[in-house]
């Protein structure tokens, strides 16, 4: 098929269009359909393959099955601690309150979580969570979750087939379809434009409400646990539609990715290894994490190996092992050990579970990890230590949304899951992503349904939408030529090096400035890309279309990282190593400003309501908040201490 200069569109009309078919997207679609909305789910991959499938450890929910002392307030407190008090407090509250209900709902749709002795959902320990809290299935929890949601969608389609004669009547999945542009008319969303991977045909979705559930951004970095899908599409679509992104400087580097062989560098090694007893050692065999417990966490973490080891069986009388500090702390610690020359042969550190659990138990609790290391690295984790190092894993930043409805600044546009910002503050706790997807996926679906219902059936005429769609089509076809332009794979590779080297786990002002300059040059090159071949399933062409998204989001990250002159969570500045109470009060907000350009503004972080602030010890609050913000008693105590 020769590339066509007069593109034809396939048009679809829906009440709600959900972009993304991972946990958040599927949960949003289920919610919208249950409200009676005709709903489309658009997936870049096949149905059921989204990145959620790679989540391993579990979904955090204060069910209290493993420890009856657990409840949503404790979960809220852990989440805000983990996020270093930068979380949107209302989001963190809703998440902690609603996660248990969402997990039980999955079980009622057929999910089979691992069980406790009395037949309830079992819960496992994870970094930063005070009690065992993660509902899980071995180390393949994401697969269970996406399969359950997928099968729930099928169940709803079956109900529609019985009632209406057509399974796709009210809920249809568009697999291997990618959205390249949102359609906006007079400031409000009217739909989305994209292409089918299968034949390169263009598709226009007309809908009053669009939910972004596109996941993250990891493919801008060289070393990442993320799949090819994570090109920041939703972040970029939102920016170009006029919405704002917050917290983009906060990128989570998971402490434990594989480091050897090179072809698997970055693939995730689940935190469950540490939750179930695994420890980190350097080349000298030392459990180095004891040297890296920061002041803010000193009170909750063990100081000796004996105390740490006692915690697994008797958590009431022992403090937690420092291997279970939040991810940002552990990642920085590993980075420091390697830089100090105490790393493993291939530039990581050792993660050992072989001397901590019987081989049979390791195979039962960590089957995927056992399989992964055996198959890909010739390492038997029941007999020897793994080599691990930090890998780009998650972006805390995302589209700024309303906590209750997931609505963005743009009427008709909603966002949930990793593409949304605020919930996790400056650092996400393990296990809080899967529960985030469910809680806010559902809220986004409900929010979008309510919004569409509120439009009273008023539709923007297609004539108003069409010019923007034609423009998007021209843009999409620009790189599809046999000319002498640049290979998109080369540009992508250069972008990954730029982000990895200059905007990585440890940042410096001058390097961030250099990153922004390099990004400008990459943006220039991106206008001259060439993807040979035709429109049928052409990966080079698809990459060329996603590179502008990656570039603008990279710029958002680098610009926000340069602006924030402190270190907190997933943002570490070598030139500003301290955490600042003044900066804690500010979110950085990125918007687009002309082609490729971004502006960084500041907006106050919403205050934590007094009844939730009271969950924290005044001494702890004093480490994070400015004096004016502290409740009176804490401020006084602080004053006395200084005096």
């Amino acid at each position: 098929m020769a590339p066509s200069r007069a593109p034809d569109f396939t048009r679809h009309t829906y009440d709600v269009v959900v972009i993304g078919a991972g946990g958040a997207g599927l949960r949003a679609a289920i919610a919208a359909r249950e409200q009676g909305m005709r709903t489309a789910v658009i997936s870049k991959s096949l149905f059921g393959k989204a990145h959620t499938v790679m989540a391993e450890g579990g979904a955090a929910a204060a069910l209290g099955n493993a420890n009856p002392a657990d409840e949503w307030r404790v979960h809220f407190r852990d989440t805000v601690r983990g996020g270093k008090f930068l979380n949107d407090p209302r989001m963190a509250e809703l998440h902690a309150r609603e996660a248990p209900e969402r997990i039980l709902e999955l079980e009622y749709w057929g999910a089979l979580f691992d069980r406790t002795a009395d037949g309830r959902i079992s819960q496992r320990n994870f970094g930063g969570h005070e009690y065992p809290r993660l509902a899980h299935v071995g180390d393949r929890t994401g697969l269970e979750m996406i399969r359950t949601l997928q099968q729930r969608i099928v169940a709803l389609q079956q109900a529609d087939a019985a009632e209406l004669g057509d399974p796709d009547a009210r809920l249809r999945v568009f697999p291997e379809t990618a959205i390249t542009e949102l359609l906006v008319h007079e400031g409000a969303v009217t739909g989305a434009f994209g292409y089918r991977r299968e034949d390169g045909g263009f598709v226009v979705f007309e809908a009053p409400a669009v939910v972004l559930a596109t996941g993250g951004i990891g493919k801008m970095f060289r070393t990442t646990s993320n799949s090819w899908e994570y090109t920041g599409d939703g972040h970029a679509l939102a920016l170009r539609a006029g919405a704002s992104l917050i917290n983009m400087e906060f990128v989570q580097f998971h402490p434990t990715g594989m480091v050897w062989p090179p072809s698997v560098r970055g693939i995730l090694v689940t935190e469950s290894v540490r939750g179930d007893g695994g420890v980190l050692r350097n080349a000298d065999g030392k459990r180095f994490m004891f040297d890296y417990v920061p002041d803010v966490f000193r009170a909750q973490y063990a100081e000796t190996e004996a105390e740490a080891d006692g915690w697994y069986d008797d958590p009431a009388h022992h403090r937690r092992p420092p291997e279970l500090l939040p991810r940002d702390e552990v990642a920085r610690a590993i980075n420091s050990e390697v830089k100090a020359g105490r790393g493993s042969p291939h530039g990581g550190v050792f993660l050992d579970v072989s001397t901590r659990l019987p081989a049979e138990e390791i195979r039962r609790r960590l089957p995927s990890m056992h399989h992964q290391f055996k198959e890909l690295a010739d390492v038997d984790i029941t007999a020897e230590a793994m080599e691990v190092g930090p890998t780009c894993h998650y972006v805390m930043g995302g589209v700024r949304v309303d906590a209750e409805t997931a609505a963005t600044d743009v009427p008709g546009l909603f966002a949930a899951g990793e593409v949304a910002g605020g919930m996790h503050g400056s650092n996400r706790l393990g296990g809080n992503s899967l529960s985030d997807l469910l809680v806010f996926g559902r809220r986004a679906g409900l929010g979008a349904a309510e919004y569409t219902a509120g439009t009273g059936g008023r539709r923007i005429p297609y004539e108003a939408v069409e010019p923007k769609a034609r423009e998007a089509a021209e843009h999409a076809l620009a790189s599809l030529k046999q000319g002498t332009g640049e290979n998109p794979y080369t540009l992508h590779s250069d972008l990954q090096d730029t982000m990895n080297d200059l905007v990585g786990i440890i940042r410096r002002g001058p390097e961030l400035t250099e990153a922004l300059e390099r990004l400008s040059r990459l943006e220039e090159r991106s206008t001259g890309l060439s993807a040979p071949g035709d429109r049928v399933y052409n990966p080079g062409w698809h990459l060329a279309m996603s590179l502008p998204n990656m570039l603008v989001v990279s710029r958002a990250i680098a610009a926000a990282a340069l602006e924030r002159e402190e270190s907190r969570g997933g943002h570490t500045r070598n030139d500003f190593p301290e955490m600042s109470a003044r900066w804690r009060r500010l979110n950085l907000e990125v918007r687009v400003d002309g082609p490729g350009g971004v502006t960084v503004g500041r907006r106050p972080v919403p205050d934590i309501p007094p009844e939730l602030l009271a969950l924290f010890d005044p001494d702890e609050l004093a480490k994070y908040l400015t004096k004016e913000e502290l409740p009176e008693t804490a401020a006084d105590a602080d004053e006395e201490e200084r005096a």
Binding site: L46, V53, G110, L112, G119, A161, W260, N487
Partner: protein, 261 residues
């Protein structure tokens, strides 16, 4: 680093094998080499993949004739001078190069009556022992790579059977639901009559190619065959259905067999 010869299927159902000489490094898997071909020699080579960690089941192909995940096939399994031939799955129509149209599988999934809890229960009511969920948990490890359906001779060699046979993947899904401790539907009759369980003659090819090591034949298909036989030939069950005291068979989901465009 060494240079290896790859032969890769290019085109759709009509097409041919194209030969490439390509660099291979220590520790790499076949998917790494396909990606290097894309990046350096042929950017439009169609390959379906996502996680590159054996968890999503997207990158199913046939390597030297054996159905495998390309992300979990290490180059070290081949002899130094062995030519590596990569072709798309044979049972499904080819869209382009190594990418197949696998919609057959999604259609079959929609025919199976979904999980059906007792309507008198609510979320949070279930109490299930670990030992009871483990049987279905094994089948839920399935990453839907569809290699089992690809290798199954019932449809690999007989296009005409596709209408009446769901393949190991979805017969296993039926077994998973039948063994779910809280499910109340009875899919035994339709397993045989609609999904073609009887076509399976236990050659275990599906089990052999399963990248998750699920014992599809032994743990799902054979026990399902036994349950079907029990329902059909047990005289007490027969009597029960005659006098109407046996719960009804769950029918196939209506209006899904030929989904409309």
């Amino acid at each position: 680093m060494s240079e290896r010869v790859f032969r890769v299927w290019r085109g759709a159902d009509e097409g041919d094998l194209t030969e490439y000489r390509v660099e291979v490094n220590e520790g790499e898997v076949v998917l790494d080499v396909l990606h290097r071909l894309q990046a350096t020699q042929t950017p439009d080579l169609a390959v379906r993949w996502n996680c590159k960690a054996g968890k999503c089941g997207s990158c199913s192909v046939e390597i030297n004739g054996v159905p495998r995940l390309s992300c979990m096939t290490r180059m070290s399994v081949f002899a130094e001078d062995e030519v590596v031939t990569v072709t798309p799955m044979r049972t499904f129509p080819v869209i382009r190069d190594l990418v197949c149209d696998v919609s057959f599988n999604y259609d079959k999934a929609r025919e199976i009556p979904s999980f059906t809890p007792d309507p008198a229960t609510s979320p949070g009511d279930f109490r299930m022992a670990q030992v009871d969920v483990e049987r279905s948990q094994e089948f839920r490890k399935c990453i839907e790579c569809f290699l089992c359906n690809n290798v199954c001779h019932v449809i690999r060699d007989h296009e005409e059977n596709k209408e009446h046979f769901s393949g190991p993947r979805f017969l296993m899904r039926v077994a998973e639901l039948e063994m779910h401790p809280e499910d109340t539907a009875d899919r035994r009759a339709i397993a045989q009559d609609e999904f073609g369980l009887g076509y399976c003659n236990i050659t275990k090819c599906c089990t052999e190619v399963c990248p998750e090591g699920i014992r599809i034949t032994d743990n799902a298909l054979i026990p399902m065959k036994e349950r079907v036989a029990d329902r059909k030939y047990d005289p007490l069950v027969w009597l029960g259905s005659k006098i109407g005291v046996r719960p009804k068979d769950t029918p196939i989901v209506p209006n899904v067999r030929h989904p409309r465009e």
